[in-house]
Structure formats: structure tokens, C-alpha cells
Amino acid sequence: MGAGHAHRLYRHAHSPVHALPPHTKLAAVLAFVVVVVSTPRTAMWAFGLYAVLLACVAHQARVPASFVLRRLLIEVPFVAFAVLLPFVAQGERVDVLGLSLSVNGLWGAWNVLAKGTLGVAASVLLAATTELRELLLGLQRLRLPPLLVQIASFMIRYGDVITDEMRRMRIARESRGFEARGVRHWGVLAKSAGALFIRSYERGERVHLAMVSRGYDGSMPVIDEVTASRAQWTRALALPSSALVVCLLGWVL
């Protein structure tokens, strides 16, 4: 917990993108992804333009390209899946470098890769420029059920605590000479998981009692109501609206 209360994906900076209210950013990212997904896959240039748009946002937010690229690694499993598609899909086939590939599968792979990558990049930029607390406020402002936001905020607040607890249990196991090597050791690990559940649940009960003793009645008071001016909305929605123009061009051309 020494590193402050920001998550690992957050990148502290003072930029126009960081300064935008969180709910405008959330709405912008969601709208952008929807636009990207509804673009026809044959308009390859459109996806290039989307990438340029995201690069502009990253530049504005002073997020270096290497940071975004490293975070993109999370979609590697699906890249592997996309690579398989041209081999298994049906339809007419084309020979590329001596391999018989399905035309439809190639389009499908391109579709998944392009849209998936753009979606991940947009989420990475959102997470890199928005603090956790702000993100939750933004979700609340976007009329997500308050109870859901509360649950999410507890999960975020205690996620590190529980993960650390698990790490301490691992250190305790290892300092007693335990090393998990195979299925035979699952029993020990599962007992740890069970103990972790009991500790989390009991911590939840303690947290609840502590909250009740401070006057909690089932709803959290909203202290800092986030608001957005028209100018801020305009700036945030510049990304999805320019993407929409590209998308419409993609359908027309």
C-alpha cells in the first residue's frame, strides 16, 4: 500500500484528458467502442483512422506509446485464436505462401484483431487517465445502480488487501517448505482459498459493523458530486463523434 491508492494502470499526469470529468470519459469510450464495432470490416482504412484518433488522444494525455503497447499484451490469447480462424473457417479458400486459407476466416481474423485491439487500447487509455475513485463516481453519475457501485467500490478498496492477504499466506506456506508442484498439492492450496474466503467474509462483517457504528444506513452519502460543463462534454465527445464520421464514411464508400 506504500505506492498510494492509485491502481497500477493509472499514470499520474496533468493533461487535458486527465482533467476531464470521469463520466464524460466513460461515455466517450463506450460510444467510441460501439462505433468501432459497428464499422464494416471491409473498410480497412477506417480502422487506421481510428488508431490515429486514439494516438492523438494518447498524445494529448501524455501517455507514451510504449505504455499503451505494453498494456495491449493482455489480448494475446485472442490473437492466438484469431490466427486460427483462417484455417478453420468455411467458404472459398485462397492460397497464401502455400497455405490454403479461408477468405472468410481471414476477414474474421482481421475483424476480431482490429476491433479487439482498438477496444483494448481505448480502455487502456481510459484507465491510464482516470483514478479509481473518479471512475466509480463516473459510474454512479452514469446512473449505474448505487448498490452495484458500492459493491464495486468495496471490491476495489479491498482488492489489494485481500490479494496481500493471499500473498502473506503464500509466504507462510513457502517458509514452511511447501512448494506446489502438481495436482497432489491442490488440497493445501484449496484450504488456503477456503481460509481466504472465511477471512474475507469475516472482514466484510467487521467492516459492516464499523460502518454501522458510524451511521451507515444502506446508502453512501455522495460528498463530491461530479459535474461537467458543456465545453467538457464537447471535448470528451470529440473522439466518438469524429469516429462516427469515419464510420459513416466507411458505410457509404
Binding site: 494502470l9 466513460l26 469510450v29 463506450l30 467502442v33 468501432v36 464495432v37 459497428s38 498494456r71 493482455i74 489480448e75 485472442f78 480462424l85 473457417a89 468455411q90 472468410n104 476466416g105 476477414w107 474474421g108 475483424n111 476480431v112 482490429a114 476491433k115 482498438l118 483494448v120 480502455s123 481510459l126 484507465a127 471512475l135 448498490l147 458500492q150 459493491i151 464495486a152 468495496f154 471490491m155 479491498y158 482488492g159 488487501v161 490479494t163 493471499m166 506446489a180 502438481g182 495436482v183 491442490w186 488440497g187 492450496l189 484449496a190 484450504k191 482459498a193 477456503g194 481460509a195 474466503f197 472465511i198 474475507s200 467474509y201 466484510g204 462483517e205 467492516v207 444502506g218 453512501m220
Partner: protein, 345 residues
């Protein structure tokens, strides 16, 4: 299994988004019933636990390792509604914070991994706990089977979603065989870990296992040398019984609609196994099934020429028969259970 953006087309994503929103609304209400005003802190902590336990690596062999998905575990430990809620919150946060799973695919992910897994696991678990003899061992066994079935069920749900709204036309049989084949293996690991974990919890704090409520021994008092049941200390909150009929009717209507209309749109292609069998000529010698002459053979109603209409009708009739058979079994079991204690006394 986090689905990224662009994998399932926009209309299907929108529909699953609606399904997910509905499921969340229902489970928010249900979680209030399961946990009352402690919902937020407890569900939040359980979500944090699921988030953490997904990072706990279970070594399989030769350097490979797997981890828990947690849907079945959550359903058994904290109840189906809280379980759906916790897994959904974990998925939401993974989507927004870690870019794991696309934002437009959130509906697909929640429907698939939070809803189907948890509900299937809980239904199977409760059914088995009711049928098996009372005791800790049968709870563990039920947890094993529930988790074992929940993971392939999610794979089946994914395959269905892919059949409806996949953006690449891979033969649905191939998708099904690949997905279900892999997930049966994953399900085995999930089942072992879930059963061991539930066993560990039930050994220490049996009162925390939601699915095993009612298995506790009643407190006995010795009054004048006789064992007497202790009076219940607090009135046990009775689950809303009035809504059970509504629940049954809604479920029945939903299944009929699904079976009737969705199979209406379903592809007329044979299923994965039939497809594989056909491709490899396995079925060249296959004998016609004994029921081939029955009025419902090959999922169509005889003498109804339109293939889609006939498939839909067969779906409706099938659901009806299944519900009737299931209710019959359920009714018989409940009769036996309620009958037994009165005889014992």
C-alpha cells in the same frame, strides 16, 4: 474466456446486454434478501475474494497451471444472487480497469460467465444436496458435480451466442467441439478445486456456506434428563414464497419462448457430434435410432413440412415434457422428504 470487442456482432451484444441488465436487477433484489443491508460490504469483499482467488495458480503438470473461474464457488458459498452480482462486478472492473474483455462485449461476458455458470452451478448443487443423504461429504460431492457442469454449460452458452451472432462463419460444430472439449477439461480442474475449497470452508465455518444451510444440527437442550429441541432464537426470515408461482410461470414462459422462437432461427445444420461423425464417415454404418419413428424424431414434428416451424414446435413440446418430468421427480422427492420426519416421530 473474456470475449473482446468485435467478436460477437452488435445486435447480439445489445440483446445480451439487456439480458445481463435484467439479471443484475433481479440479483440486486435477491442479494438484498440473502444479505439484507450488509449487502454492499459483504458482496464487495466476496467480489474482492473472487478477484484474488482467480490469481491463485494451481499447478497441473510440467509447468502448466490453471486458476479458478469462481462462478460455482461463489454460488455455493454466498448464494446465487450474490454470486451473480459478485462475478459481474469482477467482470465489469476487469473490463474497465484491465481492458480484459471488451466493453461492448460486457453483456456477452456477464451472461456467459456470471449468469449461466452461477445459475447452473447453484441449481445442480441444490438439486444434489436435496437428493443426497445429509452430511458434509455429500455437500462436497454436490459442489464437485455442480462446478464440473457449470463450466461446460458456459461453453455451451458461448457456442449458442456464437451461433446467433458470431462474426466469422466457422462451422458451429467445430466451435462447439473445441469449446466444450476444452471446457470439460477446465471443468474437471474447477470441480476439484471448488469441492476442496467448499470442503475446507464447511469444516471450519459451516454456517458461512449458503448452499448448505439447513444441514446444521439443531441445538439440543437437556431438560430434566431429556433432550429437547432448543427454541429458535430468532425468527428465521422466510424467503418470499408468494413469488414462487410467478417465478415458475416466468421460467416456463421464457423456456417456451426460447425453445419455440430461438430454435426457429437456429441453423438447420446438424450438431457438432453429428457433423464430426458425418465428416469422418463415422455415421455411415450408424443404425437409425430406435426412436427414429417417433413423432418428434430429429427435433422436428412429423407432418409439419416447414423445417423451422417444425423445429420450433418440437422445442416447445420438448420443454413441456422436460418440465413435466422434472416437476414430477421434484414433487416425488419432496413428498418423500416431508413424509419421512413425521414417520420418524
Amino acid at each position: 474466456m473474456h470475449v473482446p470487442d468485435g467478436f460477437i456482432d452488435a445486435p447480439t451484444s445489445a440483446v445480451t446486454g439487456l439480458v445481463a441488465a435484467g439479471a443484475l436487477a433481479v440479483s440486486l433484489r435477491g442479494a438484498r434478501r440473502e444479505l439484507d443491508e450488509r449487502t454492499a460490504p459483504l458482496a464487495g469483499l466476496v467480489a474482492a475474494f473472487i478477484f484474488a482467488v482467480q490469481m491463485l495458480n494451481f499447478p497441473v503438470a510440467a509447468g502448466t497451471s490453471g486458476h479458478l473461474l469462481g462462478g460455482a464457488l461463489a454460488a455455493i458459498l454466498v448464494g446465487p444472487c450474490t454470486g451473480v452480482l459478485c462475478v459481474s462486478v469482477v467482470l465489469l472492473m476487469q473490463g474497465i480497469l484491465f481492458a480484459d474483455g471488451g466493453l461492448t462485449a460486457l453483456g456477452v461476458n456477464i451472461t456467459d460467465m456470471a449468469l449461466v455458470t452461477t445459475v447452473v452451478a447453484y441449481v445442480v448443487f441444490r438439486g444434489l444436496v436435496k437428493v443426497l443423504p445429509r452430511g458434509r461429504r455429500s455437500v462436497t460431492a454436490a459442489a464437485f458435480v455442480a462446478a464440473l457442469l457449470s463450466v461446460p454449460a458456459a461453453a455451451v452458452a458461448f457456442t449458442l451466442l456464437y451461433a446467433v451472432g458470431g462474426t466469422t462463419d466457422v462451422a458451429i460444430g467445430k466451435v462447439a467441439t473445441a469449446m466444450i472439449g476444452v471446457h470439460v477439461l477446465i471443468g474437471l480442474g474447477e470441480a476439484a478445486i471448488t469441492a476442496l475449497t467448499v470442503g475446507a470452508v464447511i469444516a471450519v465455518r459451516p454456517d458461512l456456506v449458503y448452499g448448505a444451510r439447513g444441514l446444521r444440527q439443531r441445538l439440543k437442550l437437556r431438560v430434566n434428563g431429556e433432550l429437547v429441541d432448543a427454541p429458535a432464537s430468532a425468527p428465521v426470515p422466510v424467503a418470499a414464497r408468494t413469488s414462487r408461482r410467478a417465478l415458475w410461470i416466468t421460467g416456463l414462459a421464457a423456456s417456451v419462448v426460447l425453445a419455440g422462437f430461438v430454435s426457429f432461427y437456429a441453423s438447420a445444420d446438424p450438431d457438432g457430434l453429428e457433423k464430426v461423425a458425418h465428416d469422418h464417415g463415422i455415421d455411415a454404418k450408424a443404425e437409425e435410432h430406435a426412436a427414429a419413428g417417433s413423432p418428434l424424431a430429429d427435433y422436428g414434428v412429423r407432418d409439419v413440412s416447414d423445417a423451422r416451424l417444425s423445429g420450433g414446435l418440437a422445442g416447445v413440446i420438448g420443454v413441456g415434457a422436460t418440465v413435466a418430468a422434472g416437476s414430477g421427480v421434484f414433487w416425488a422427492v419432496r413428498r418423500r422428504r416431508t413424509g419421512a420426519p413425521s414417520e420418524a416421530r
